[in-house]
Symmetry: D2
Subunit: 382 residues, 4 copies
């Protein structure tokens, strides 16, 4: 696919995700971590306008100077921005205004892409595609939060295809002690946080070929796992008690049976599917209770060719830190990953809402340990 | 006008206020005090459904049982409710859903009103009309907040007619010491908080025939009034410093000139108009700085026949307390006023967005002393 | 008693209150409203140093310039100060340092008082005595909080003489409708908030000769009064739920029997004593539940010659507001009362820890409606 | 030294640290991270009583059952406890009471130690000694905070011997790429978090023989390092702005010259001493600004035999995580380290207040990245 087709495909996919929404669904921000869908639509557009069109398209006319303020996410280099918790207070620009903004930028991008861009710009473009794809995943998870926390529990799309569970009866996968290489290599795109490829020394370990299922996790719930401090980190225990957590996110007990909110609305929890929407604290506590542990991100990467993954982001024991030789890019693009490398945990794999073609064995996702609105699950190690 | 016409007129007026909004404007709640317009539309409808249709219309089919949870404001008697700060997180029911709900209830109400209702129901109806009219005023002030705090400062309605300033050059109005009667009397509608009519003893006082103007208030601003603790209550001074208050709400200095947000968008402040959108703390501090004071609500009521009022709610020195012999109505309706009678100040008069026919010399409006999003102004006394 | 004897008596009484404390008890500040006893000792001394010695005693040597910062309470006119919530973080000046400071100031004051002071200074002196007496009462209540919230519940003084209950079987006291005068008159000392004496018009009312007892209040507790929103102000109901209030302050249920913390340590609640340490919200809710109400401060003042009072500060329905003609004194002394006249309720009477000779029928005490650490009780009216 | 002498030495050293305090200094808790010195005195005693005397000394009489509640720090297994932020609100038990408690426990311990304890108890004893030594260091840092945040800036001990700076002019220390072993080995005591000893693969790196000095750090301050977001983590930048951080903790600018609070009181900052009392965020930002980085804990451990350390805890880039094969001990002792292994950074080395004999090349200290009240400094790597 050439660049212009890639551009179109990415942009259209974003809009197709939103096609199931009502106008009101684009606007709200029930918690700070979740952004209004219309903000995602504007922000991904602003990214191309700010980093491609303004610096590289001669004579480009900025759509609206105020949009820089509204749609900047966290790039300090490019001016003031609406603070994250305020995004849901903005009724304007309207959804229609933002679609017009997309149209304006898309038109300019398409004419810009008629000519072959320089290698430097090409790199930025690929980053822009990957950036918008990351927001596609966030759109899915933010929409789920918006609808799943509404007292009416509206469905997002009754035709949405949930992935099938496919449990493997195989034995745990063993890896020998020794030196292994981790990190990205080769020609394809990767984020700066996947570099440099480097050697690590691993002790012998075993890793499960399966994610923990709802049925297995329910045993922990029913055994009083949420009431016993011994399984938890101190901060995890405080979180459980402050937030009164008693089950994974989106789980509701109705007449004694556990249901969870899905893109189809409320449904009974299916025992053989991977447990999902749990925090790192819960993943850790579950593993403790089983007398096992979570893998490190390097164990995961080394063993991942030997099991199926991609159903749910998998919490690892690793903190999100720079690889040896990591260097931030100069300018605003350098703010992409590096400045988040504290207080977060690495997740590996992918989830059912990860954009197709976006899974990568070296991909390092990262979130704070208490967050649950992503599709997050557990794979055990020992 | 008969009841059915009244009902229609009230209901239509609510909808006409919203006719200038885009769908997104109905949804957001930038601060806890402001409710999303779609919530007002639903709540006023819920009021008729809950207090008239359900108890008095035989065979009435509730529109949606979940709406009771969503649209209850503060009536503890009628079940759980969405907490106030969460109203802006709800994208559903959609605006269209709520208009359908209004239609459903309106149809039922109109058929109900074909027969002459009992005196008891009639009283509830009149309360319902007045209730919806109060929400019409809140719609105006909440919409102003929603648009006036948007970085794009969109106009609400460029045809909106602002009232003209009409300054009177007359002398201050004097009232002699003595016994006066205050509180509602006669046949017309009043809220329970305006009763009983009772005698008060007033010392001699003088009251200004005019509201304080923007030009006069600017003298206070320019004299450093916001920087001098001596004019302020201790809690007012803490509020000024915590919130970094430097001028009335909606005022912005652009290139050295004061502008304020109006229903037409940002406009230069007009010197001869009454100052508006100030807190009680500011009204008090301004009066202190002038060596004067605010009137009590009884002084205001006794003198009000002798001056023009209605441009802006006027802060009084009086706390919002029950009149002698005040009794709460039994049931949910009894929650209407009584339970707010602590920590609030009385405002008298009316504002440019008070529904026509709703002004009343005995009307007691009330807000917490730090609030400014209503049209609130200052009349001095001594 | 001449001034110098008065001075000595007041100062010694303050120290005698503290004589039962251990050094550690002087230091802590478990909540913002409570000040460490050593702060009271320093602050009352600072008052005489700042308002008498520095301006009026020629050649007076300030004890320590830093103490102005440490011991200023809320006087903005006299410089920066330690914010209230930080008082309990200061281990220095030590208790001994502060007693030395008292000695230094006392010596200077005594030499100053050898000569007859001017009328102006005399007025300040009387204010200083009354000020220190108010802090004596606060010392009692703050010490009770400090010890009563310690998990060891240490006694303050086992010899402390609690007042005897003296219930009167008499009928309710009736007062006719009419004009009455309220406010201070005559030669004796009063605070500025008791002036001017002025006329009020009262409707006929009845007031109870007795305070509500623990036994009566327990009926409210046992009847589920704390679980029924109908009796409460909206803000009171939020307070009950946020703070999980279920009984008066200092009440603890031990093996099914109610105990309360007293200056002797934990003791069973005595049924015939006045209920104490309740908030205005509780007083109001109790009255509502009985179908009665609290008196206004004017009703109280007019009727108070006909009943015994002084066991516990009595919440009134009145908000704390200026009397007609109220003027703040110029300078720092003017900050004494006026700037608190918002969001507080008036209490009338006196309590068992009010300094002898300090009760006054026109005295206006005032606290925020949620506070309970003073000796506060209920007298009903109708 | 035999066990009984060890016990006495440790216990006496704790008391000698407190010997410079006034009674009031034992009581306060200016921030949640700092505990009142009397709490440390009680808690270390409670540790021996709870984990040695109660389970192992036949017929031991508990000193006071309430003390378990007061002096438990974070051991959920051994009952409820005073929440950390409330420790400074407790005036009782008094300092004298706590010294009596120490005496009681010391007497019992000494009689217990007359007989040779079992290997299991011996291990617990050694843990108890190390535990009390850790609290000795906390006593030093907490006392510094208590006095250094008092507006009078009292000295702790004018005879306190600050360590001399000893800058080495040598070149950076180089380490080759390869496999290294880290973690504790041998007979001596270590904490569970130093185990297991295991292999790591390190890339070639260089590390500085010196800590960053005050003079070097001042260049960062003067270059506007605290005002430029590019050097900071996103959470670090938020911390700088929320807390208005402009220099290391305890630094105050007086007449244009930087001073800092030391155990002697306020003194001019000495340029050639290591910069101290900085957060991880500051250490990271400083390194970024220099174009360098912090070492990982493994780089540090491998190179540490080649440079002098021990002046100040050194922030590393490593997150605090379990070593391969880490297992929590069963029971309350298992709460010692494991449950803190999230959201914290590892510090290596030791500081001027680390108890003598307590430094260990494999010792893993850990704190949250924003904390500064420990003696924390910077060593650079590349």
């Amino acid at each position: 696919m050439d660049l212009i087709d890639c551009y179109r495909a990415v942009r259209r996919h974003t809009e197709s995700i939103c096609s199931h929404l009502q106008t009101e669904d684009y606007v709200v921000q029930p918690v700070a971590d979740v952004s209004p869908p219309k903000w995602h639509l504007g922000h991904t557009t602003w990214f191309f306008e700010t980093f491609i069109l303004k610096p590289y398209l001669m004579g480009y006319q900025e759509y609206d100077a105020d949009y820089n303020f509204v749609f900047n996410s966290y790039y300090e280099s490019v001016g003031a921005r609406v603070i994250r918790t305020d995004r849901g207070n903005l009724s304007r620009p309207s959804v229609q205004d933002i679609y017009r903004y997309r149209e304006h930028v898309d038109k300019a991008m398409e004419s810009f892409l008629c000519a072959e861009p320089s290698a430097e710009v090409k790199e930025l473009l690929i980053l822009g595609f990957n950036h918008e794809q990351q927001h596609q995943e966030l759109l899915y998870t933010d929409i789920k939060y918006i609808l799943g926390n509404n007292p009416l529990f509206p469905a997002y799309d009754r035709q949405y295809l949930s992935p099938k569970a496919d449990h493997i009866d195989g034995a745990w996968i063993k890896t020998n002690e020794g030196i292994y290489e981790v990190g990205h290599q080769g020609e394809g795109f990767c984020f700066d946080n996947e570099l440099n490829r480097h050697k690590v020394y691993l002790n012998a370990f075993e890793i499960s070929p399966n994610l923990v299922t709802n049925a297995e996790y329910l045993e922990f719930v029913n055994a009083g796992g949420y009431q016993d401090f011994r399984h938890w980190h101190m901060e995890g225990w405080a979180w459980v008690n402050d937030q009164k957590v008693e089950a994974p996110m989106y789980w509701y007990q109705i007449d004694g049976e556990w249901h969870h909110y899905t893109y189809h609305g409320l449904e009974p929890v299916r025992p053989h599917e991977p447990v999902c929407h749990i925090s790192y604290y819960e993943a850790y506590a579950y593993a403790q209770w089983r007398g096992l542990r979570l893998p490190t991100e390097f164990e995961w990467e080394v063993a991942a060719t030997q099991f199926k993954w991609g159903k749910a982001w998998e919490w690892t024991e690793s903190a999100y830190l720079p690889y040896p030789g990591f260097v931030k890019a100069p300018g605003a693009i350098g703010e992409y990953n590096g400045k988040f490398m504290v207080n977060q945990k690495v997740l590996r794999g992918a989830s059912e809402v990860t954009p197709p073609g976006h899974e990568r064995i070296t991909y390092r996702n990262f979130f704070h340990p208490h967050l649950r609105w992503q599709f997050t699950g557990i794979r055990l190690a020992k």
